[in-house]
């Protein structure tokens, strides 16, 4: 399927979507269905690829909140950091895949080090201390990124293997977006299995329910906290690396990302992993279909959804009641 020349697109669309095929008599109703199906498929896949990026953003924030009860204001900056790290990794190694591994590792390591060096000293303070310090980190990290990479948006090439177009029900669709859908699914299943089946996953779930009890059972919860902070920042950076070929790496990424991430976490329920997945999918569908049907209100649609959820379930769809 892949690698068909783009130039045939209009012609194929014309032949396949607008005219009944193979001389079979088709009623006007079912031809309308034939028209809408490819459109729906493509829009749904678009939404799912968008959902994957939103999920990478939201899941890290919600895991961090679940364990540490703090809001990591720097989360969007780690996402942006990931995009720039991905850009450099591609430049240096020539491989997008290297960026996909190195970006999250570097960002996750810096996140964990930040928790170890700074956040850890603040646990006995009130919540505003965390807001101040993580907000401070957004400024510092943002400035470092500006100094290292400059102010211009940096384009990241889609790797050759993923740069093609496939035809789905004769509609063209970028392979890269399919790859995003697949990576979202793989990472979601991976996190789920990690939480359910590994010792660290068990400790993460237990710590989110009662950190003091876990501590008294002989587990160094501070290590669990550093680990989860690093993992969360790494996941945000993974989203950034994956988003870079679509959006390019730019200094404006962080602001939008942190808002999206907050919306995901609030809709899904603070600290809920399945909630973040559900919310990412919902928000992505609202964004994609909103942009198509109500372009003027597309931006507002996401907030309306959040408002609705907050009215009906203040703790989020899958969160504990607030």
């Amino acid at each position: 399927m892949a690698g068909r020349p783009l130039s045939t697109r209009g012609e194929r669309l014309f032949h396949c979507s607008r005219t009944p095929r193979c001389g079979r008599p088709v009623s006007s109703e079912s031809s309308a269905v034939m028209d809408i199906l490819p459109f729906l498929l493509v829009q749904c896949l678009n939404a799912l690829s968008q959902a994957a990026l939103l999920f990478f953003l939201g899941v890290g924030l919600t895991l961090i909140f679940g364990i540490m009860r703090i809001v990591n204001f720097a989360h969007g900056t780690f996402y942006m950091f990931g995009a720039f790290l991905g850009y450099s990794a591609v430049r240096v190694t020539g491989s997008f895949w290297a960026g996909l591994v190195l970006g999250p590792m570097v960002a996750g390591g810096i996140g964990a080090a930040f928790e170890l060096g700074l956040l850890r000293r603040l646990y006995k303070r009130d919540d505003s201390a965390f807001l101040m310090v993580t907000f401070g980190l957004t400024l510092v990290l943002g400035e470092i990124i500006r100094l290292v990479w400059g102010v211009n948006a940096l384009q990241v090439e889609v790797p050759d293997a993923l740069s093609g177009i496939v035809f789905l029900l004769d509609e063209p669709f970028p392979v890269y977006r399919l790859f995003l859908v697949a990576s979202g699914a793989i990472v979601a299943v991976g996190i789920w299995q990690f939480l359910e089946r590994t010792r660290l996953g068990l400790l993460i779930r237990a710590t989110s329910q009662n950190a003091e009890m876990v501590h008294a059972l002989g587990v160094d919860v501070n290590l669990v906290r550093s680990g989860i902070f690093g993992i969360g920042c790494g996941l945000a950076a993974l989203g950034g690396v994956l988003a870079a070929p679509l959006l390019s790496a730019s200094l404006g990424m962080a602001g939008n990302a942190i808002i999206d991430a907050f919306v995901i976490v609030i809709i899904g329920g603070m600290g809920s992993f399945p909630g973040s997945l559900l919310a990412a999918i919902l928000v992505a569908f609202v964004q994609v279909f909103g942009t198509y049907y109500f372009p003027d209100f597309a931006m507002a649609a996401m907030y309306l959804l959040m408002l609705l959820v907050l009215v009906v379930r203040p703790g989020g769809l899958l969160g504990k009641e607030a």
């Binding site: 068990l202 009890m213 501590h215 008294a216 059972l217």
Partner: protein, 231 residues
Amino acid sequence: MLRIEGLNTHYGASHILQGVDLAVPRGRICAVLGRNGVGKTTTVRSIMGLVPPTSGRVLLDGQDIAGWAPHLVARAGVAYVPEGRLIFPDLSVLENIRVGERKPAKVWTVDRLLALFPSLHERAGNRGWQLSGGEQQMLAIARALVSDPRVVLLDEPSQGLAPLVVRELAGVIRTLCAEGVTILLIEQNMKLAEAVADELHIMVKGRIVYGASPEVFRAEEAEIRGRYLTV
């Protein structure tokens, strides 16, 4: 085994523990009785390092563990069954136990614990919040034992349990004693304490003011009750 000497603990400006002295010999059950608010729970929380004591010693087989971080106290061999049980509500029964199992248990294996607590065996896949109070208490004890502790701190295990369940609990505690587990038992339920303990201590205003065997305690009970325990 566990020896507390001159333990002082403050919550902010209030002086909660005012020089607690207490010894729990190996393989024995030591009960501490006292009214609400005299510092019984603070005593176990100070031993665990959850509330760092301001002065005094907590000797575990001669090693001073006072002021250690909770996870280090636990790793030294002190297991904690907290007041209110504090089961992880969204984890299954087995997962609750596994959190406490830092390395594969040698003495109190999961299989053995499930044999000791048949009701937990039946509900192994249930979530913590689905258990009754008695089952939660058994689970909290199992979660503590799975670390093969040298000493178990049991804080108000009978709280909120029906008399029949308290009787079952007494049976469990006696079984543990027969297996050589050392226990520091904090209780308000004098019946339970009398039924299982080898030594009874009474705490008043942050100090241990009385200690005796259950036989001696029973002989002096009327006077002791009037002096220390009734409001």
